[in-house]
Symmetry: C2
Subunit: 468 residues, 2 copies
């Protein structure tokens, strides 16, 4: 049997589990449950010999995050980057296009990077079964067997049997109200999980039929793609022309080739904090603490905090998430309303809406730890072998104190090695560069002083990561 080509859709910017998930570090890259991100566990599931090396389709902003997360688990993938968000139909069109260029008959499985599947062997087995039906020209979707009459999912009405467990897909139905959902569950309807298996040429022709503009944009974006470091970056001008729509709406709700395979594999799309609580280990009061928390006189509470002590007294059915710069207190009942909160924060131009305090860069990360009227203190961590751009500032001087590892500092015409417990001063206007020539992380404390301390006071004279 020929191998299945997995395509992981990894470009989302999920705000529904804010404040942990933000645009700069979205849900799929966070260890929401367990020690690994959902992207990483999805990659691990695809280590089965039934699959080819996966293609990961993601946003250009996440390229270094992706590379880091793959390195962390020792996995490999081809990374395809979208220069802008164009929703799932365009992404699937690109996936089908790339697969077809290998071989039009390639069977592709498209998986979301931000779902949890407890029974990973079950998922692999389902993919194999679905693949044989897909080879015959069907577009097979995973239909999750409901364990409750959820109102948060779209449902699928299965039709006549095709082969084994696989059935024709009769209809997609919208998210129901509670009584309708109960009737659906009773009648054997399934949840629409948004994971598909299809032959590349079949998907291509369906998209070309229903959404020719998307088809066209995806093909041109692949034709004009460029290699950048290890990444394939789609042509932005072409890709931007793809209408923004979902693959469900563009193809699945219209095609006559849709089939469904029932999946009973402990699936969750981790669509809100309540789902995270449900996936967490709970005590007999229904309480669950991740990190530094304490719950008293309450039930069904989920507390998450990496650092700050977070306590709950006497409040039931609540989720409390504490991060370095934001706290969320959310009722189970309003679990789906976090998006609206984040929208409000965006309207108010709050940085916390989309950006974490820790900012990841290709060379490592930095994080503000203190600030006052004319100063700011940052922790800067540089990976072994990495270096920052050659740069200068017009409004701030910087003091660097190395607290771990060794820094190679270029300052105007000189180069200095600065070791642990040593410091160096960078006056306003000097041209400087920071690198880590060593084998372990370099950690330093930067104290900036000056009248203007914005991130935009930077002139990049040269950059190893092709940034502006």
């Amino acid at each position: 049997m020929t191998k299945i080509l997995p395509v992981i859709m990894c470009g989302g910017a999920g705000t529904r589990v804010w404040p942990e998930s933000r645009e700069t570090l979205p849900k799929q890259f966070i260890a929401l449950v367990g020690d690994r991100s959902t992207f990483q566990t999805t990659m691990a599931t695809l280590a089965d010999p039934a699959f080819e090396k996966p293609i990961v389709v993601s946003n250009i902003d996440y390229r270094f995050l992706l590379a880091d997360q793959l390195r962390e688990i020792g996995a490999e993938a081809d990374i395809v980057l979208e220069p802008m968000r164009r929703d799932s139909a365009a992404a699937v069109a690109v996936a089908a296009g790339l697969a077809a260029r290998r071989n039009p008959q390639t069977v592709v499985v498209v998986l979301a990077a931000d779902h949890v599947v407890r029974d990973r062997a079950g998922l692999v087995a389902l993919c194999k079964t679905a693949a044989s039906v897909a080879a015959d020209g069907y577009i097979v979707t995973l239909g999750v067997k409901p364990d409750n009459p959820a109102t948060g999912y779209g449902y699928i009405r299965p039709g006549e049997r095709i082969a084994g467990e696989v059935m024709k897909l009769d209809a997609f139905v919208e998210k129901p109200d509670h009584p309708t959902a109960e009737a659906y569950v009773e009648a054997g309807y399934l949840w629409n999980s948004g994971n598909f298996i299809f032959r590349a040429d079949v998907m291509q022709s369906e998209i070309a039929h229903f959404e020719p503009a998307i088809s066209e944009a995806a093909e041109r974006a692949i034709d004009g793609a460029r290699r950048d470091l290890d990444f394939l970056v789609l042509n932005g001008e072409a890709f931007a022309r793809a209408p923004k729509t979902s693959i469900d709406y563009a193809v699945m709700e219209k095609t006559t080739k849709a089939a469904v395979i029932p999946a009973d594999i402990g699936w969750s799309d981790v669509g809100n904090w309540r789902a995270v609580w449900e996936l967490s280990e709970r005590d007999d009061q229904g309480n669950s603490v991740r990190g530094n928390g304490l719950i008293r006189e309450a039930r069904n509470v989920h507390v998450r905090s990496d650092d700050t002590l977070t306590t709950v007294v006497g409040v039931d059915d609540v989720i409390v998430v504490t991060t370095q710069d934001a706290v969320l207190v959310l009722s189970h009942e309003h679990g789906d309303n976090v998006k609206q909160l984040v929208d409000q924060l965006k309207r108010e131009n709050r940085r916390e809406a989309g950006e974490h305090k820790r900012i990841f860069r290709p060379w490592g990360y930095y994080q503000s730890v203190d600030s006052g009227q004319r100063y700011q203190v940052k922790r800067i961590v540089v990976k072994p072998g990495a270096r920052l751009s050659l740069q200068k500032h017009f409004h701030r001087a910087e003091h660097w104190i190395v607290v771990k590892g060794t820094a190679e500092v270029g300052r105007d015409k000189e180069t200095h090695l600065v070791h642990e417990n040593e410091s160096i001063y960078l006056p306003i206007g000097c041209v400087h560069r920071l690198g880590n020539p060593g084998r372990i992380d370099l950690e330093l404390i930067e104290v900036q002083t000056g009248s203007y301390l914005g991130e935009d006071d930077i002139v990049r004279l040269e950059d190893a990561y092709n940034r502006g």
Copy 2:
């Protein structure tokens, strides 16, 4: 008319409004409502010419806090320090003893430092009225007119009228259940506020009669007191012998001299977070935000946060308090159970139970802002004219970067002036001293590196504040 001598009881370590109130910075020193601490507003109330310069009885740990808070509002008081906590009976005995040494007939008003009174003029007027009755030998307590059948207070049953509004105090009754409280309010009972007016010699003889050991301990503690800087420190050996009991239990519930004056002055003992919420300005949903907070789809929520964005979605009747190192989510209903939470944290030896991240010192404050395996970063603020002890460390080196003001740094035999945007390095083992010779606050960032970074790695060779 002779003046009244106010005595402010300011030694409490109130844990009921943790995490803002902690042993190192308790409730009476915090701006729980408005811009001033309750200690400061109490002092301001006593600026009326009816009163002498107040005596403040507090714990020795709070001496510099007290001095700072008085300086901030330009008020003066005689500060008497207890070397250890001995509850209110011993503190009142000391107050009476100190007053009697001026003149046995002195009329004393004892006020709690951590109560809120909206009608401050009303309080002054009540004190004056009560004073004239106290001059005749009564111990007059302020009995607050209930505005609801609260179950959190002890009640007072008033008896026959003495003069004007003042009545004999018939009995103290324990905190009632709700129906009993309703009956009490109906019958004209009053809340016991724990504020008293009495003649010094009368209180002395009552304490001597009912609790001779307290009387004895207080007198010896005053006899053996020593001046330390501007403070009067009670003799510890003597004061330690005072039995720990409240003035209510020791005297008020037993004496035949008790009277009560009804008080309708917007009083609150701010005994829990619910009370703080009630004293705060609320919108028409009953919500109140102090600092950086956002509330959606909820009612009767109180959010407090100085810094971190704190959001509440869909949780009613809750108080959320975010501080630099601890978050509390508390239902109104469980408002009185914070003490038990703090007790649990103490049992678990959590620093956050009693200590704030910002540590106040006589010379200013410091605060850890970041730390790693072998380093710690602190912000240090030194008041104009102040200086730290001459000291050295065995396990850590320090880098100081001045970000505001000017530092005078003694390092072994040298002295350096370090200005804004300059730094100085203090190697392990060097003898050093930090002072602020300037007219504005000195702010610096300290980066410590070393194998052990505990606060106890310090040898103090000389200290302006007589610390060990």
